[in-house]
Point group: C2
Chain length 130, copies 2
């Protein structure tokens, strides 16, 4: 949660709420995977990212991997950990039979994701409720 706080607002969370959400996500099995890279010496989580597998009817019942919440701890940047997280989630999506993997990011991150073999193919639109 501390690491996710380097990406966006994490908000408050009780252990019970965390456990419940953990169980919910776990119940999706390989359809919702969270990748974590741990620094063995300090036990700190150095990088994380997740992927949600969406099942469609189009493309002969194709699947799409949605990569979300990729972040590397400021202490561990410059070690290509972000690239390793994205590659892991991309490989998982391919193994799950997805025809593509997609993600949304800021324009500043475009060059990083191009290095991960991705191309800019559209824009993201969003509406916040709060």
């Amino acid at each position: 949660m501390e690491l996710l706080g380097q990406l966006t607002v994490t908000g408050s969370l009780t252990d019970e709420e965390f456990d419940r959400r953990f169980q919910e996500i776990s119940s999706y099995g390989d359809d919702h995977l969270i990748c974590v890279i741990e620094d063995e010496s300090s036990g700190k989580i150095a990088a994380t990212g997740s992927v949600v597998i969406e099942k469609k009817f189009l493309r002969s019942c194709g699947k799409v991997g949605h990569i979300e919440d990729v972040v590397v701890d400021s202490e561990f940047r410059g070690k290509h950990l972000g690239k390793r997280v994205v590659e892991f989630l991309t490989d998982h999506s391919r193994e799950m039979g997805c025809y593509k993997v997609i993600l949304d990011c800021s324009v500043e991150k475009k060059v990083f994701y191009e290095k991960c073999g991705m191309l800019n193919r559209g824009i993201q639109m969003s509406k916040y409720f709060d």
Copy 2:
């Protein structure tokens, strides 16, 4: 499937494959909803769109609605059906407790989604496997 073909490649699909995917999507309940607008007089599907609810840890175990595959049959365009589909999927996401709803589209669709109350907040990156 015919309508989805106006959006992208649908590919071939047996009835069995369709049924299996239908069951898979149905098993997610309110977490994966497909909205369909039917023209009562002809029985034709005039518009469709879907939303996948993603469960996160950040934002106090927040949820995000991912809107996908919005398309209006060429025969029924100009009747604001696309806006109704997006509004329905947005309302569903809000009711499910999402803090935001997002989607990816081409730059040409930006004005349409702005009319649906959305703002451009980033870019989409993707990698195709086939």
